[in-house]
C-alpha cells in the first residue's frame, strides 16, 4: 500500500505560547489527510514515520494517572520531548454549587473534592467560615480537629505510598499501607459514621464528639503504625529497584520549585522548608512539637523520603494531641451558628423556634471575605469565601495545591523515558477531584 504522508498541524486546546509569542503547535502525521488528535492509530507504526515525533495519550483512563488525567506526550523514540496535561474530566462544579448552599451544607462538598483528605478539608472549610463569622472555637474542638487533620494526612500519604509503589512495581507496600489506612478508616467510622465522606465539622464546632474509648483505639493504632512504616521502609528505601526507578527523576531545584508555585511535599523535597503549619500556624500548631522534613535533590526519591518522614511527624502530633485533649464542649456557645442539642430542641418551645429558624434560614455571617490556608497532604490548600450578609456565600473558591503541583509536570518529565513519566506523575500525588473541582 502506497503511503501518502502529509504533515498537518493541530493546535492543542490547552497549549500555551511559545517563546516568540505564537500559539504552540504540534506536528501530526496521518496518511490519509484526516485530522487525528494524537490517537496512536496503527499508522503511527508505519515506517514512513521514521525520525518523526509521535504523539500518544497517557490517560484519561489509565490506572497509573491516579484519576482521569490525560497527558499528551510527544515522544522521540521512547524519550519524552514534550508533555501537555489536559485536565477537566472530573469537573463537578463544586464551587458553583457552593454558591447555592449554606455554609454548613458546603461541608459535605469538601469531602468530595479532595477525597483523600476529607477531614482536613472539612476543618479548612469550617475555619474559613469561622473567620467570616468571627468565631473562636473551643479548646477541645481545636485539639480534635488537629487529630482529624493529622490522621487524614497519614491516610492520604499511605494511599500515595501504596499506589506509587504499585506504579513502580512493588506490590507488597500497597497491601501493607492500605491495611493501615483501613485502621484509620475504622477510627473515622467510629467517630463520624462514615469512612470516606466524613463531613466531620460544623461551623463553630464538630458534628460529634469522639465516642467512648476512641482515644485508646487511636493510641493502639499509632503503636502498630510505626512498625509497619519501618517494614515498608525496609522494603523500599534501600531497594535497588526502587532507588533505580526514583533517584534523579523529575528534579526541581529550590528556585524552580518556588517559581512554579509548588507547595507541600513537592516543595519541601526540593529543600525549601515551607509548611503552613509552621509558617502561618492555625489550630495552635505552634504549640506542638514536630519537625518539617526537607529533601536535598528534589527528585522522586526525595519526595518519597519526605512523605514517609511526614507520616512519622504526623503520628507524633497525634500522640501529643491525644495527651493534651482537654474536657469541655466541642461547640462554641454562639446561638448564631450552633443548633441547640436535640433533646433541648424537642423539649422547649423557644429552642424549637430557634432550631427551625437556624435550619430554614441558615447562619448569616457579616458582609466580608475570608481566606484560610491549611497544610493539606498535597500542599497549601486554601478556601476563600465572600459573603454579602446572606446565608450563602457569593463566591466560594478553592486553592488546589495539586493543580499548581501538576502544572510543573511538563518541565519535570522533559527528556525522561516514557516509563519514568509514570513515576514522576505519581510523585506529584495528584487528586483530580481537587484540580477540576
Amino acid at each position: 500500500m502506497a503511503t501518502k504522508t502529509r504533515t498537518i498541524e493541530v493546535e492543542l486546546s490547552t497549549s500555551g505560547l511559545d517563546r516568540s509569542g505564537k500559539p504552540q503547535r504540534v506536528p501530526l502525521v496521518t496518511n490519509d489527510g484526516g485530522v487525528s488528535i494524537g490517537i496512536p492509530e496503527p499508522l503511527a507504526l508505519e515506517p514512513a514515520l521514521d525520525g518523526e515525533h509521535m504523539l500518544i495519550n497517557l490517560g484519561p483512563q489509565h490506572p497509573a494517572t491516579h484519576g482521569v488525567l490525560r497527558l499528551v506526550l510527544e515522544l522521540d523514540g521512547e524519550t519524552v520531548v514534550r508533555c501537555i496535561p489536559h485536565i477537566g474530566y472530573l469537573h463537578c462544579g463544586f464551587e458553583k454549587t457552593g454558591e447555592y448552599r449554606q455554609y454548613n451544607q458546603i461541608i459535605p462538598w469538601t469531602d468530595r473534592e479532595d477525597y483523600l483528605n476529607a477531614p482536613g478539608n472539612n476543618v479548612a472549610m469550617a475555619l474559613g467560615a469561622e473567620r467570616l463569622f468571627g468565631i473562636t472555637i473551643t479548646e477541645r474542638c481545636k485539639v480534635l480537629r488537629v487529630i482529624a487533620c493529622e490522621l487524614s494526612r497519614i491516610m492520604s500519604h499511605l494511599v500515595w505510598l501504596g499506589t506509587t509503589s504499585i506504579d513502580i512495581g512493588a506490590y507488597t507496600p500497597f497491601l501493607w499501607s492500605f491495611h493501615q489506612r483501613e485502621l484509620i478508616y475504622q477510627l473515622l467510622e467510629a467517630w463520624t459514621g462514615a469512612r470516606l465522606t466524613t463531613s466531620l465539622t460544623r461551623v463553630g464546632g464538630l458534628m460529634a464528639d469522639i465516642p467512648d474509648g476512641w482515644t485508646d483505639n487511636a493510641r493502639s493504632f499509632l503503636a502498630g503504625f510505626d512498625k509497619v512504616l519501618d517494614d515498608v521502609e525496609k522494603l523500599l528505601t534501600n531497594n535497588g529497584i526502587w532507588v533505580g526507578r526514583t533517584v534523579g527523576l523529575g528534579v526541581m531545584s529550590p528556585e524552580e520549585a518556588i517559581n512554579w508555585g509548588l507547595s507541600g511535599s513537592m516543595l519541601r523535597a526540593s529543600g525549601v522548608s515551607y509548611d503552613v503549619r509552621k509558617d502561618f500556624p492555625y489550630l495552635d500548631y505552634e504549640t506542638y512539637d514536630f519537625e518539617v522534613p526537607v529533601g536535598v535533590n528534589g527528585d522522586v526519591y526525595d519526595r518519597y523520603l519526605v512523605r514517609v518522614e511526614e507520616m512519622r511527624q504526623s503520628a507524633r502530633i497525634v500522640r501529643q494531641a491525644l495527651d493534651r485533649l482537654p474536657d469541655g464542649p466541642i461547640n462554641v456557645d454562639d446561638a448564631r451558628v450552633i443548633l441547640p442539642s436535640k433533646t433541648k430542641a424537642t423539649s422547649g418551645m423557644e429552642s424549637m423556634i430557634h432550631h427551625f429558624k437556624q435550619v430554614m434560614e441558615g447562619p448569616r455571617p457579616p458582609v466580608g471575605e475570608a481566606y484560610v490556608a491549611v497544610e493539606s497532604p498535597r500542599g497549601e490548600k486554601g478556601y476563600y469565601m465572600v459573603s454579602d450578609g446572606t446565608a450563602k456565600p457569593v463566591r466560594w473558591r478553592i486553592r488546589p495545591p495539586s493543580f499548581l503541583n501538576l502544572s510543573a509536570i511538563p518541565k519535570m518529565v522533559e527528556g525522561h523515558l516514557l516509563s519514568d513519566v509514570i513515576a514522576i506523575n505519581a510523585s506529584i500525588d495528584v487528586v483530580l477531584g481537587e484540580i477540576d473541582r
Binding site: 465516642p211 519537625e291 536535598v296 443548633l339 436535640k342 432550631h355 427551625f356
Partner: protein, 164 residues
C-alpha cells in the same frame, strides 16, 4: 525547626536487584505467619459502627403511622435536594406527609436530615447494601422507609450523648 531527611549513598554493588528481591521475599514471607486482616465478604460481614450513616429509615409511632409531621426541615437542609415532601393535614389538624420520598441514588448520606428532624422521624441507619436494577428502584417511598428494620445511627440521638 527544619530537619533534612537522610539520603542513603550507595555503591553500585549495593544496587543488586537479586539482593533486593531476596530481602523483599523474606519480609513478605514473614507476613504469612501474621494474623489475617481480610474478611470473606459476603459470608463474613463487617460490623458497622453504631454511628454509621447508611440507608434511611422512618420511625413509626405506636399506632403504626410515621412519626414525621411534615415540618419541612429535612427537605430544606438536604444538600443534594433528594427528599420530596408533600404535607397533608388530617381531620384533627395534625400534619402528616402525603408524599415522602428519598432518592437514595442522589443522597450523599451526610445525615443532615436526621440531625435536623425535630420528631426523631427520619434516620440514617446501619445498612449499606442497596443496589437495584433500575434508577427508579432507588426512590424509597414512605412505606418502604417505614418497612426498613436495620438499627438506626446513634448520632444526634440521646442514646449517644457524645454524638449529639
Amino acid at each position: 525547626m527544619a530537619i533534612t531527611v537522610k539520603r542513603v549513598s550507595r555503591h553500585v554493588e549495593q544496587t543488586s536487584y537479586v539482593k533486593a528481591t531476596l530481602q523483599g521475599m523474606a519480609s513478605t514471607l514473614k507476613q504469612m505467619f501474621e494474623p489475617k486482616v481480610t474478611i470473606q465478604y459476603p459470608e463474613q460481614r463487617w460490623e458497622l459502627s453504631p454511628r454509621w450513616r447508611g440507608t434511611h429509615r422512618m420511625l413509626t409511632k405506636e399506632d403504626g403511622k410515621a412519626r414525621c409531621v411534615a415540618c419541612g426541615l429535612c427537605p430544606s437542609v438536604c444538600p443534594s435536594n433528594c427528599i420530596k415532601l408533600v404535607p397533608g393535614e388530617d381531620e384533627n389538624g395534625n400534619r402528616y406527609p402525603l408524599v415522602f420520598e428519598i432518592d437514595e441514588f442522589r443522597c450523599i448520606f451526610c445525615g443532615y436530615c436526621q440531625e435536623v428532624c425535630p420528631e426523631d422521624a427520619i434516620h440514617v441507619g446501619q445498612h449499606y447494601e442497596n443496589s437495584e436494577y433500575s434508577r427508579e428502584g432507588h426512590v424509597y417511598d414512605l412505606e418502604r422507609l417505614m418497612a426498613q428494620t436495620h438499627p438506626v445511627s446513634t448520632l444526634w440521638d440521646a442514646t449517644d450523648p457524645r454524638g449529639e
